[in-house]
Symmetry: C3
């Protein structure tokens, strides 16, 4: 009965491209051994894998596909992997000497943490592109940047009262892992090995620190960076999930990068929400209009898209800045994308590892030039033009670039006020030997560029509508907080407020 | 294979009412010409249209439908449109002399911006109702109201420091279009024409300012107001999308009008989220219980609803205030709906174009009277009563009307404090020749009525639950900010705080 | 045609477990009478019920099921209910003498409000468990706790200016019902009876106060507590809806308990959003991996789960603390779960009905002990381990418990600052004979533990990611508000700020 249901399911629900889906690929002996226990111990992940393409198609069949439909980018795949499903053993026993967490497990050398370098066995190009993606560097771009570390400490530090002020003591590793590095990725380490009694007798396990984590820039136990499972959730590792915006939401939902919230309030997001149950999220290549009628995050930033004639519009890229000219996540200003994904190398005119200085000047030599920006913009606009005429696209872009300029200008005004506050020693900034981020009034300032200017830019970039541009962490809040900052300076420096009523 | 899939799709997924759906209507020669290029150039919109009712049913067939199932309200439709699908040419070459953006394009007179007056060709009644809808007037109701303009400037202005205070310089047209007027609609204008080299040779295009925009009150190039595509997203223009709440979310998600957030947290929204995949969003008329089991925004505010006997409960209306007695979006108080959708005509007792004065008094002669309010309430309650008994409805309404009264009273207290602040010249309001909206403390005041009082009322109106009524921009925040306003006045006027510890 | 569509619907859409679904159970004469009018008057609820299991399966058939698939927990069911569908009359005429709202209605004794004690007729065990659930006591846990009442008054009170400060006058019953008690549940009362002219002639109705309400701790007219329909929405009363997270969202979406927001941003929520259209939400028992591949709220907190062999992992419980060791909703600190669901019985060392004192000390004798906590944690971890290895679960738990400790420590620092503010009489706390919750600066303090500490803990508990742990009401806001509190004390007590520039 279940089988009949599954047959009908396959017949009516799955898109034509997955003809092979319902015939599972043969499973290796090693994987069969894994499944014998783990199907019962961990039914969730085993069933998830059973539904995956990895369980249905052998690498041999996958590599035989020609043209744009090919999903496996490696030119060759090791012989012994070719004829079997990509199962437990195929990934978790790959390159055992490279993985510090490898242990002997029922006669196999097994590692827990599968890394992009393992996935590269079949998906070389994607792994290569991703290593040049700024996300792959998310751990060290935060942990290795002293300015960002000051911001991090002001947020994650342990508050303590010292001489009448609140100080931030160094934050705990567990706090970091639970907060910033949840998305940025942790540094995994093997802190030892232990033997534990299990249902199968005594077994050896690696003790991992920084675990569990699936952050985009995780430092793995084989020295590689990132986690493919951040977006291609284990153990289906599907294209479908990575193409749906819920995946991006995991890290892009707060007021600092409100991409998901803005998207779902945009016309594109509205179309997605209303219609996506009828779209094909598995088709490769992905055909505009036929497979989907409004872009998701992946459509604009990652996927290989073709028109209904099958002609490619944009190539697949896992280096997501490929179609981006601006980095609109401003810290503290929006700026052209950095040339190198390792942003700790940047130096602004004050010698700080920031793409702009506090006055808004660009650290130009570290940022992409005009020609590159134009090329990337053209690449993105190609996608827009699958549904919009040139005048539409031009008009949208004009507003967007203006909004970047406008929000940068507002940030500059806020920063000038803040600079006066520091100058008058009403707060201790860099010039006073302090952190520019940790005092109450400094957080008022960081709200402006970190939340409101960013939200306004995301709203503009994705035509995400009035609310995020105005009343939902938008211009209303930006203007309010600039006024508050100005008022704070006036009042605290004794040139406003009470005096008025005193007749001064 | 695709065709077979489509056949099964039609057979099992589409509701019975769309029997004609799978047989595409014949396409006019002109539209065929359009499609020949644009199917490849703009596959997204062409495929979207292919899936639309416009591509499937001729106006002749549509107008032949009798009774409540009829979707086309015009008594007659021009002969030449009757026998073909409503395709590219049918809309984009209609009334060419009326549209300022009309250009010669491959032998046709084509305009880019299709307007409600174009749609009125077949949908006369809906266009007529919508023109009386307050949304149709959203552009001028904002742009033509000096009080709202002061509020707008305080939000969208370019901040600049002048003599120690932050001033708001006039805002840029692109800022306006990217912010308030994204939802309200922009004023479209043809700023010129250009010739551009295209794949098809040199072609002429109109250069539009205020474009792109799909705001509900857009001023079009034929002089009409609004954009049907704001809710009936191009190029499917479906009833389905307009009936799903995601469409309303585009403009109604921020703390000023948190309708979508409140709805999805309400019992109705819960039922929608859990079950709507099995509902029929295309049926006309829309049968309570059979086609859907909980209302969406459209069900209560727009759609023609019938009971399971086919008896009408409420008529379709595109003048959405038809079922609304109150305008709960308070600026600064909630009040009965205005009589005229052009709200710039209103004058309160102080001569300002506001439905209430700052003390809360109503500009009564501009607002609907008790009899009209009762009639509209009865109309809305008819819908409630399809699922709820009279006692339920009465109890709900009692709470709702009380919440309006309560939030207006809280706003009055806040405004009295603000009036004292102005009186003591701690801020510059209207009486001091200033804007009542642009200073830091004034924004604290506007938070109260614009965000918190509104959120509380939306939560009450839709039984949207505890959170939006209490902790999510609700009464917690309203009470907090009133206390802060009171504290600000005391502290700044020298009658509180530090003195206490000084022993005064 | 409809019937054929329904047949295909049943065949392809409904899971195999519902074989009996499509054959409606016989309807009692009394229910038939109800339906004759109400199918037209209230089509929404009647159609909803038609789609319910109650309309499809007789209690006799339901009670005949053996093993884990059995949904009806009562050992016996009254004879006269056994052979008919669970229809209108079966519930609304049950135990008429027990319900104060019972009226004579067309020859039947009908009550409007069906209560858990009615449902217990067939679902004894669930009703029994729920009565021990803290939610069942939600009304009196709030209304009967003087500390919480002070907090409630500071939020729901009617603001009024008295001698220069804003006072909170007692809140109106309608305000309470529209706010806190929307979720907590109201106290229902019959305030009288009335006769009204209806389409069926004059009829008698009970007039209810506190109605409508479906809060989890509603005090019913038969003396019972709670509303099964809070989660099993009337009139399908389905397992499906209760298992989907939208139900929990109704009350758990604000910054105080942001469970839904955190969940949908977590990896689990991402999997749910992307894949749940293909899950089986009706299967009993609920099989991990086969029926669903990521937990919803219900999976972790309520449902009976089995592995793919059919072996039970956890038993069904409607006493939701059964799998919870901590109560992370801190007022003012997170603490071990209380022993008794009636939390008004608790006394901390200061004699207040709070699980902790203001210094963070636990009212230990009222809270579950270590052994119970370990047992509950083990029960929850059993679920985790269906998809995660022991090292993963251990690592997650270590971070989670650390986050509880860390947020409690931050709350302690904030409370020490607040205590200093009270001590210096800059605000009036308990020691000064005032409410600790109602002044502007006190609300700054309550933001810290009520919103930010809670949000951080929910984010950690559900691995809900970086944003809710950092920038979306997380550690950024917590650290900001602690700094503001410290700054407020310094400035208001005259030891900071302006003096600096005055050279003092």
């Amino acid at each position: 009965m279940k089988q009949i249901a599954f047959y009908f399911f396959c017949l009516f629900f799955l898109p034509p491209v997955t003809d092979a889906w319902c015939a599972a690929a043969p499973v290796s002996d090693a994987t069969q051994e894994c499944l014998e226990c783990h199907a019962t111990i961990h039914p969730g992940i085993v069933e998830d894998w059973q539904q995956s393409r990895h369980a249905q198609v052998t690498p041999k069949a996958a590599i035989a596909v020609t043209g744009l439909a090919r999903k496996v980018s490696s030119k060759s795949i090791p012989q012994k992997l070719q004829a079997v499903a990509v199962g437990c053993a195929e990934c978790h026993t790959l390159r055992p000497r490279k993985h510090k967490d490898t242990v002997e497990h029922n006669g196999h050398e097994v590692h827990v943490v599968v890394s992009p370098d393992d996935c590269a066995t079949c998906h070389t190009e994607e792994a290569g592109q991703y290593s040049k993606n700024i996300m792959a560097h998310a751990y060290n771009n935060l942990a290795g940047n002293p300015v960002y570390q000051a911001l991090q400490l002001s947020i994650l530090g342990r508050p303590a009262r010292e001489k009448g002020t609140v100080q931030m003591l160094p934050s705990h590793a567990n706090t970091k892992a639970d907060a910033c590095y949840y998305c940025h990725g942790t540094r995994l380490e093997v802190s030892g090995f232990e033997s534990r009694e299990t249902e199968m007798g005594e077994m050896k396990f690696a003790i991992l620190s920084g675990w569990p984590n699936q952050g985009v820039g995780r430092l793995n136990l084989d020295g590689s960076k990132g986690a493919c499972s951040a977006c291609h959730t284990r153990h289906t590792f599907s294209i479908e999930m990575a193409r749906k915006p819920y995946t991006c939401k995991e890290c892009h939902v707060g007021p600092d990068v409100p991409a998901f919230k803005v998207y779902t309030s945009s016309k594109h997001g509205n179309i997605f929400s209303a219609k996506h149950a009828r779209w094909d999220f598995q088709a490769v290549p992905w055909t505009v209009g036929r497979d989907f009628t409004a872009p998701t995050c992946a459509a604009c930033h990652v996927s290989l898209l073709v028109n209904t004639e099958g002609d490619p519009l944009v190539k697949r890229t896992h280096q997501m800045s490929d179609r981006l000219s601006w980095r609109i996540f401003g810290l503290i200003y929006a700026h052209p994308q950095p040339k190198n994904p390792d942003t700790t190398l940047i130096r602004n005119k004050d010698g700080l590892p920031l793409a702009t200085d506090f006055g808004g000047g660009l650290a130009e030599s570290y940022l992409i030039d005009d020609a590159t920006r134009k090329k990337r913009t053209a690449s993105m606009q190609t996608i827009c033009k699958s549904c919009h005429h040139s005048g539409w696209v031009k008009g949208h872009w004009e507003k967007y670039e203006h909004t970047i300029e406008e929000t940068n200008a507002a940030t500059a005004v806020a920063t000038q006020i803040m600079a006066d506050i520091w100058k008058r020693k009403l707060a201790q900034g860099l010039g006073q030997g302090g952190s520019p981020f940790d005092e109450a009034v400094e957080k008022k300032w960081s709200d402006i560029w970190l939340f409101y200017a960013n939200t306004i830019r995301f709203s503009s970039a994705m035509a995400g509508g009035g609310d995020y541009g105005v009343f939902a962490d938008g211009r209303y809040h930006l203007s309010k907080e600039i006024q508050e900052l100005g008022d704070w300076l006036k009042w605290r420096s004794g040139s406003a407020g009470r005096e008025t009523t005193d007749g001064k």
